[in-house]
Every structure is written in structure tokens, then in C-alpha cells.
Symmetry: C2
């Protein structure tokens, strides 16, 4: 039997390869880039990731929980840095043990590649997918080192090759998909914050730091080596933009005005600012994710989203779990009907991928703006209070997304209803003391059904 060919040894591809190889499938994993375990990834392109419940479930299914846990740092909440310099902490969870985890993309990816290889997947690096003959089940792969070409017969082809997917391009070449990418008019630039002279971190390493400034923001996530990875999100064009701040001097002036505390922490600011590229962000909407019983797109290749909910990887890992479950169920039913597996996958995942794409866009506004808003803060306090009073009945949307495996579409829809209630209950109020919490809880319990699941 020819192998299941997975294109892309990024996070989703290597996790899926690990899961499937471990379940006994023959897997060939082909990656265009060099083996990142040997060749370092370029700086400035490695946004840290926030691992949450869905991501952990994916890792559990690849038997990699412990391996990743010990390279991850818990973040208990957002540390919001106001213009005044004041910092206030907004906890993520209802309980102190509800945290999200900062992981280094490169390190995590390397671990997953190792786990896939150790599970028995066949790995090929510098191997670029150059074309697919879907009818014949053959992929054309070019060796990026010497240009040599090989043809590989596959059972099915899984495109886990990111927003610029070559598998998607091959599907598009055969028949237009109607795909569309909405680019955000904001981009990002990464900067590294070194430790203090004595090796200690310069900021609280148990928080995700945000400097919300209305139309733009800076964030920073902790790394295990006491550094932080800071990311500046800024419009591409306009008065305050990457165009207006194209050179280090203008970047420095922006930081001096909006993030002076961070500027003081980056001694080589100018060099980093000049060297690190501006990344683009977008939402990919692709109406078709599979090509009959031959090929399927997962993760960013199917539904790239903006990073503001920290769910791109978590969503892709949930894709892997869902796909694994469908494949395993089909195998147990006797013989895998790939057409049916792929169709079911698309049907189940599409509404959820759409929902998280929208919530990720909404969350940008929340992060760069609302977290500093008193109304938002009051609603946030109230929803945490309601969640404590109404377990099984009320869960903040953020918690549904980050700390549960409730479907994203459900979280979004329910979140809308909850938001309306929260707006109503906080109308005209400026602190929790002014709200009759017993009455509020009773009202919410009466007007919302219990949570699913």
C-alpha cells in the first residue's frame, strides 16, 4: 500500500504524522524547507504560540504531552500596560489553574518532528511538492538541493503546508476553488527582549503582556530562557504605521512615545528593528478543502486565521484530532472510505474554522483597545463571577475557546448571547459592587440553557 503523503512538516503536519504513524499507518512526510532540527530558522518569523486545551488534546493523542509540557511556560493572565506605566493583571481563568502556555514555535516543531520520526513516519526535507496527478495518485516532488525530481505514489495526500499551500495550489490548478484571502491592514514585527544582566527576566514571566494603544499594540510572551518575544502590531499604512515607521529611527520614536518601558529593555533595538521583516496577516476562506477521495487540506492550508486569539495552532491540532478520529472510525468500520472521511471532516470543521476566524479578528480589537476600557473590564469581572456562581451554566467565551473543547461555532454563538446579557447587566454601572450578583446570576440561569457537553 502506498503511504499517506503529508505535505508540510510544520506544527500540524508533524503532529498528524506522529498521530497516524503511531496508530500504525504508513506515513511519508515531505517538507520543502531544510530540517529545522539542523538548520536554524530565520529570526523574526517565529511568533511564540499560546497552547490551550485543544492544542494539548492534539499533543495527548500523539503521546507528546510531557515532552511539550516541560518546554512550556504557564501564563496566568494578561498584564495590561497602560500609557501611564501602570500595569494591571487580568486573569485568564476562573480558577488559578486555568492558564495558557507559552511555547517556542521552533522548539515545539522540532519536538513534533522527532516524535513523528520516532513513531515511524518517513521524513523527507528539502522536498518541494511541485505538482499532483490526482487521478493517478502521484505527487511530483523536487529536491530543493539538487533539483532532482521524484514521483511518489500516495494513498491520499494531506496538505498541511500552511497558508501558501502547494497542495491547495495543485487543487486550484485542476479546478478553481473559489478561495479568497482577506489580508488584514495591519502587519507585525517581532523583537526580542533579553534578560537582565543577572539573567532574570525583565517582565513578569507568568503573564502575556499587552500594551494596548487603541489602533495598534505591542505584546510580549515569555520564553524559558528568560527572554521575551515582543510583537508589534501596526497598520501597514497611515499616520502610525509600518510605512511611516519604515526605518529604525522612526520605529524608535514610536516606541519612545507609546512603549518607552519596552524600548529601554531592548539595547539593540535599531539593529533588530532593521533586520526583522514585517509580516502580513490574513484570513483564508477556501470553499473546498478536499479533492474527492484523494486529497485534503488541514490547518492553515484550509483556513489560515489571524493570530489574535492564539488559536491558529490549537485549531490545527483540533483538525488533526478530528481527522484521526474519523480515519480510525472508518478503519474500525472495515476499510477506509476516504471520500466519506474527507467530506465528514470538512462538514464538521468548516463552521468551527469560520467561527474561530471571526473570533480571532474580533479579539484584535479587544486586545489593542478594549482590555484598557473600563466597560470591558467590568463585563469581564462580571462574567468571571457568573462563571463561578453558575458552573455548567455560564462560561466566558474566552474560556470556551481556550479552556474547553466546546466547538468554536457554539462558543461564538453562545458568546453573542452572553455578551448581550452582560451589556444589559452592566448598563449604567461602573463597578461590580453596584450589581446585584444573586439577581444577575438568577437572570442568566433563567435566560440561558445549561452549557452543552
Amino acid at each position: 500500500m502506498p503511504p499517506i503523503l503529508i505535505a508540510g512538516a510544520g506544527l500540524a503536519g508533524s503532529l498528524l504524522a506522529a498521530q497516524l504513524a503511531r496508530a500504525g499507518y504508513r506515513i511519508a512526510l515531505h517538507e520543502r524547507r531544510a530540517d529545522m532540527r539542523r538548520v536554524p530558522v530565520a529570526a523574526g518569523r517565529s511568533i511564540n504560540l499560546a497552547l490551550a486545551a485543544r492544542g494539548w488534546e492534539g499533543l495527548r493523542r500523539a503521546h507528546a504531552t510531557n515532552l511539550v509540557l516541560h518546554q512550556a511556560l504557564p501564563m496566568r493572565g494578561r498584564a495590561v500596560h497602560e500609557r501611564s506605566g501602570a500595569v494591571h493583571m487580568q486573569p485568564y481563568g476562573i480558577d488559578a489553574d486555568e492558564v495558557i502556555w507559552s511555547v517556542h514555535r521552533g522548539q515545539l516543531n522540532q519536538t513534533l518532528i522527532d516524535v513523528a520520526a520516532d513513531a515511524g513516519a518517513e521524513l523527507h526535507f528539502n522536498s518541494r511538492l511541485d505538482g499532483v496527478d490526482f487521478e493517478a495518485r502521484r505527487a511530483r516532488l523536487v529536491d530543493e538541493n539538487d533539483g532532482s525530481v521524484r514521483e511518489l505514489k500516495f494513498e491520499v495526500l494531506i496538505g498541511a503546508d500552511g497558508a501558501g499551500s502547494a497542495v491547495r495550489a495543485a487543487m486550484e490548478a485542476e479546478a478553481p476553488l473559489g478561495q479568497h484571502t482577506d489580508f488584514l491592514d495591519h502587519g507585525y514585527k517581532e523583537l526580542n527582549i533579553p534578560p537582565r544582566g543577572d539573567g532574570a527576566p525583565t517582565l513578569d514571566p507568568t503573564a502575556l503582556h499587552i500594551w494596548p494603544r487603541g489602533g495598534h499594540m505591542l505584546i510580549a510572551l515569555p520564553n524559558p530562557d528568560a527572554t521575551f518575544t515582543a510583537t508589534l502590531f501596526l497598520p501597514h499604512a497611515g499616520a502610525v504605521s509600518f510605512s511611516a515607521c519604515a526605518d529604525p529611527a522612526a520605529g524608535r520614536a514610536l516606541f519612545a512615545r507609546d512603549f518607552p518601558d519596552v524600548l529601554a529593555l531592548i539595547p539593540d533595538f535599531d539593529a533588530q528593528y532593521a533586520a526583522h521583516p514585517v509580516g502580513v496577516l490574513g484570513t483564508l476562506r477556501c470553499p473546498r478543502w478536499h479533492r474527492g477521495d484523494r486529497a485534503l487540506l488541514i490547518g492553515d492550508a484550509a483556513h489560515a486565521i489571524v493570530p489574535f486569539h492564539g488559536q491558529g495552532m490549537n485549531c490545527a491540532f483540533e483538525d488533526c484530532v478530528e481527522l484521526l478520529d474519523l480515519i480510525e472510525a472508518a478503519r474500525r468500520a472495515g476499510g477506509t472510505d476516504w471520500q466519506q472521511v474527507f467530506a465528514r471532516f470538512e462538514q464538521a470543521r468548516r463552521p468551527n474554522a469560520h467561527a474561530i476566524a471571526e473570533m480571532a479578528l474580533e479579539n484584535y480589537v479587544e486586545m489593542r483597545d478594549a482590555v484598557a476600557d473600563p466597560g470591558y473590564q467590568l463585563r469581564r469581572r462580571l462574567e468571571l463571577e457568573l462563571a463561578r456562581r453558575l458552573p455548567g451554566h455560564f462560561l466566558p467565551r474566552y474560556s470556551m475557546v481556550m479552556f474547553s473543547s466546546l466547538p468554536y461555532a457554539y462558543a461564538r454563538e453562545r458568546g453573542e448571547r452572553q455578551r448581550a446579557l452582560l451589556l444589559e447587566l452592566t448598563a449604567g454601572k461602573s463597578s461590580l459592587d453596584e450589581i446585584d450578583l444573586d439577581a444577575a446570576a438568577a437572570s442568566v440561569a433563567a435566560r440561558l440553557p445549561p452549557l452543552n457537553g
Copy 2:
């Protein structure tokens, strides 16, 4: 069914736990110390390890090859530092791809604990084995944090708890084992060599460095962070000894005389020398390794050896493989007869454990003295030449130990015969040019049978 209880989450215990858990056995792994993934191990007690063929086979059987490979550094040979300051390289292998691998004990151990946990083993730290009721198959475990006691029923108990094994002590308490430890009259002290100011390593990172000085020596192994771990081996007592060099000033004087190049690389020599303990080294000879069908000792708990062949871990990992194979064979035969498994294990491993113990002692003399000897160097060159000319027929003893899985006992016995031939062929000679290599190869081929395996 009660679990297989493994005492000790060191290298052997965690590897065996990973292998058995992955094979479907219920494993409880109890470790007296705190979880090293959270609590750093004390400095000066973490000698680097040299991973070789037997070790890799153990890792392969736990599906951890790739995970470990990317934290390991290849060492292609010994870099012998003479008193004159001259350095010459003695390759380890017959081919350039025969290398041994420097790994950091702590990092490797953490990975193996993660792999064991991810494979499904139940982990308990700060859990000290305080006594065993072998008849009732019950272990008494004390929580080192709060002193609380729990009794744990086990199917069998595996002592992977090192030279000071509590399982061995429990066996001894029931009936004397006749065990004996020969302590070496030399001890060791570890020192860390930092990178250069620009972050580069100060020595060749692809070699194991030796400064042989006759009665004592210094070695250094590379680490991935561009540091080296240097280990000074010195008699406990005498003119040049740890007693005579008890304080940093005396240690510094010794280094200034015998290892001035290394002294120059350790800016905080005095602090390290004062802070790092002198470790003892010994060979454990224990006539009994198992207690009927109830308990078995593996690794250092059964046969601790001196570190000079870099085989302590490799031998322990080979124990794990052998035990796993015996258990799996017994299961396939229907129902595990533990008495038989343990007896067979002991029978198979004892001669090999004895052989590597002896070879490790012999290798100390080779390292601290012979590597600098012209006669040794000539024999070494000749044996590499013979190995190239007689594949399948001649393999240096070092290669049999490090690069093959030929039994240690066989390697030792065969090594004796080969040594006699090498001495004969090099008698009166001072360079390879003086030796008729065709005639030498023919003579060896005629007088030695082909290699086993």
C-alpha cells in the same frame, strides 16, 4: 493486576518504564528524588555521557531515537593533549561515521522521564522505597515531602535505583547477597569550561578531550551550549591526589603544572573547585540479581562499574533491551513466568556485566597513560588498518564495545587474542611503514576465526 513497580527514575529506570509502558504493561515508576524536570540537579554530579551503539538500541526500543539524537553531539575521536601542548586526534572509528555521542545526563534523563510518562507510565517522585515484603508482593514507600507512608502492591519489583539501590538493600535484609564493592583509589571532580566571549566553544567540539598525565588525567566532553564538562580523575591520597589538592590553591597549582591550557579557560576555577564535590568510583559485584519471581536488579543496582569505557549507561540500556525481549517472549509463550525471566536475564547478562566491568577498569589505564604511548598508538593504527582490510574478521575491541552489539564477554575474550597478535605484529617496530600489512592481515585471518554475529 498490580503494576510492575520500577524503583528509580534515573536513566535505566525511565527507559525501561518507557519501553514496558509502550508495550502495554502497567508501570508504576517511583523515584526518591524530586522531579528533575522541575528541580535542577546539583552541579558537579552530572558527568556527561557517551552514547554508543548499545545505548541507541535501547532508545530505539523506547521510540526515542530522534528525540535524543537532536540533543547529542558527535565525537569523532579522542583529542589527546600532550604536556607539550601538542594535540593529536585519535579517531574512534574505522569509518568517519563511527562516532560516539556526548549527551547531557540531566537533559537525557528528563527526556526519558517525559517519554515514559507519555507512554503511559505512572510517575511518583519524592517516593522512597523503605522496605519490601517480597512474600506479600508489597512495597513500603515513604513520601519524602511529608513523611507519609503508603503500601503498594506490585506484580514484580525492578530495582533500577543505582549503585546505592534500596531494592538491593531490601533483598540483602532478607538474605545476604554476598555483594561487594571495590572502590577505586581514584576519585573525580567536575569543572565547567564556558564558551569564549563570542559564544564559540574553546576546544574542538567534535572530540572527547584527554589530557593523559600517567597516574591521573583530565577529560572534557562537549555540550550543545558550547561549554565543556571537564572531569579531573585523581587518586584520593598520595603526592598528587585530592587529599594533597584539597583547597583551590593546591588545585590551581596542579592545573598550572599539568593542565595550564585548561586552567586558562576556567575564569572561576577557584569557586568551582571549592564548590564541586569529589566523587567516588567503584565496581559493584553482586552474586545475586533477583529474588525468585518477585524482584530483579538492573543497571548500576546490579553491576555498577567505573566510567572509563563510557559504558555504564550503554550497558544498563542493553539490560533494558534484554529484559524487554525476555518479558515479551514470555508473554507470547502465554503467561509470564517471572522466575524464569529473571533467571534467564541474570544468566545472560552476568558474564557480560563482568566483562565490561573489567574492560572499564582497563580503559582507565589506557586513557590516562597508554593513549600517549607510541607503542599503543602503533597498535591502534595497525588494528584500524586490519579492520579495514578484514571486514567481518577483525574488529578492534574498542569498536566491538562501542559500535557493535557483540556481547561484552565476547569482545573481551576476543580482544585478548587480538591484543596478543597486535603485540606480536608490532614487536620491534615503530611505524606502520615497517610492517608488511598484507602479511599481517593474512596472518590474522589465518589465526582468528571470523567474527560472530
